[in-house]
Symmetry: C2
Subunit: 386 residues, 2 copies
Amino acid sequence: MNNFIFSNPTKIIFGKGVENEVGNEAKKYRKVLLHYGGGSIKSSGLYERVVQSLQAAGVAFVELGGVKPNPLLSLVHEGIQLCRAQAVDLILAVGGGSVIDSAKAIAMGVPYQGDVWDFFTNKGRPQEALPVGVVLTIAAAGSESSDSTVITRSEGLLKRPCSSALIYPRFAFLNPELTYTLPPYQTACGVADITAHIIERYFTKTPQVDLTDRLCEATLKTMVNFGPRAVANPTDYEAHAEVMWAGCIAHNNLLGCGRVSDWGSHMIEHEISGIYDVAHGAGLAVVIPAWMKHVYREDLNRFVQFAVRVWGVDYAFGDSERIALEGIERLKQFYHAIGLPVSLHEMNVADDRLEEMARKATQNGSLGNFKKLYEQDVLKILQLAL
Amino acid sequence: MNNFIFSNPTKIIFGKGVENEVGNEAKKYRKVLLHYGGGSIKSSGLYERVVQSLQAAGVAFVELGGVKPNPLLSLVHEGIQLCRAQAVDLILAVGGGSVIDSAKAIAMGVPYQGDVWDFFTNKGRPQEALPVGVVLTIAAAGSESSDSTVITRSEGLLKRPCSSALIYPRFAFLNPELTYTLPPYQTACGVADITAHIIERYFTKTPQVDLTDRLCEATLKTMVNFGPRAVANPTDYEAHAEVMWAGCIAHNNLLGCGRVSDWGSHMIEHEISGIYDVAHGAGLAVVIPAWMKHVYREDLNRFVQFAVRVWGVDYAFGDSERIALEGIERLKQFYHAIGLPVSLHEMNVADDRLEEMARKATQNGSLGNFKKLYEQDVLKILQLAL
């Protein structure tokens, strides 16, 4: 186990109807930016409830909608200008990971003199940020209790992450009922994203990490049991509650304590969804099994443990390689069974830009930690994913 | 799953040598009360390292040692006076659960006009508290990242808990090496205390709590695997690291999210260690299996799950009651194997004051939630524990 610091200040308010209390959390701020995506929060009635809660608490606010999946730097710039002009001191993200990520980028950009994109290209480190609050509508990204954000710059189709302890949301309202209106495919993409956050932490070469291994396995098993149920039953409260709470724990960094995480698959997926119109979760469902097939010999025992403990593969037959591959196959079947693509072809991604993606993914150096991935490794993984 | 709020602000700094950084965390305060127990932190050299770190960071401090196991209200009163006289604004607990609990009580008492004991007898609720920091020397109580404290008043031998979000420590330094000097019996008591914190949360009647069930089981399994290793090998870093991190997670309330916890066994044990010179963990090792035998029919399936998932009892033989009892027996054997008493007689507690303890335990109403325990239930449990 490595030395580590764990500090997650996000206050989670979880359960039925909790979004009606958002005004109570927001009322200590002077002015709020209500940040959201398209029209779904208006058609669902959520927008109205949040506004009523803010108004009942006497909280002044301005609005900025229009966040798209793979949130764009251009809207972040617009939000920064608006916050400065209106002296906003809390950004309230009402939506999923894209809206929260956009809010976090705005939060870092407001007090910064340069271009906030600097923080995504290692040209600067944020020194301060506005506080961010969340009303979550999709269980997926884990951004509601994480220190990271991913933003896409249209110019050059660059999708880049940034992490800073300054952007942990101060509070996050998690009501599983708010996910009832999602199309099953989007719920499935969320399930894949959540499992990916666990898997990226689980596959480590740090030795002696028993407790975090088991916590990862516990959270994965809950996803294996309740993910399909949530996809099949849009209004099953218990299934959506398990998935939403697992989604938060999967990415609040508890599961990464004391161990080196990987993140290679995420970086590869960013290249795919940076170019193609592909949901992040669907991209991960394609990339992760391919990544696993490329790297499993790096630590066969860890893949055997994954197969046996998470998927219940019978250890008794004793052929480690076969057990490891069976675990990978079960994961792939799991994604397939909830309606996700498990190959690039199924996502209408052809083989003509694989080299380009491999080059872009590694232009700042190798990816991942479980196995360092260079351009040829990424190309191999993309080919395995075809 | 019930609605819940989860918010734990404690910053955990974990690993080898971390206590040498305590000055960096303390330096934003004006004056620190260095609070500790007996001479062990001086003989181990820890006291010297903490003082050097504070001095190197330019942090002024005063001292109050002498905290005993089952920390006393009288010393808390002394600490409150000292903090007021010296304008202390951070209480730094260097020690185990007793020292931290004493620090938390002082922290609540300093800004309070009345007697801090009011908070332990439901005569008042704390409205503010000084910040508390921790350098942990024993993996056991989980007080380093919890919102609770237990204090004993000598007059009437009353041992009473108090919980408040105000007393979550702001930071806690967890270096497993600091536990190397503990006698194995004390390590074993800590192991029992940690498992008890998980078990008190695990046995719930709240339905549909899959993820927290699995997180509880994960943490328990780590304790089952590494607890005995830590007891047997005082300088095994990895074993003590797993136990120390599990001890923190066992009681930071993650495992209680969305479910009603029990705490009946803790309340019964407090009556025992309030009267007899019994380590809290040893008392729990005696009480919990007896409590289980008294309550397991309340939800046989949950006890079967405990037996199968935590202890690997074979589900195939299909006799639920036998499986449930086998799980309880395995827990008892586990405590016995690490050198703990598993009966009141082994702790030199005779049967002559059981009625008194049962009466005192229930004088403010029933205990526990998995099964409401009245005076006769507590008496029965104590008799089962003989």
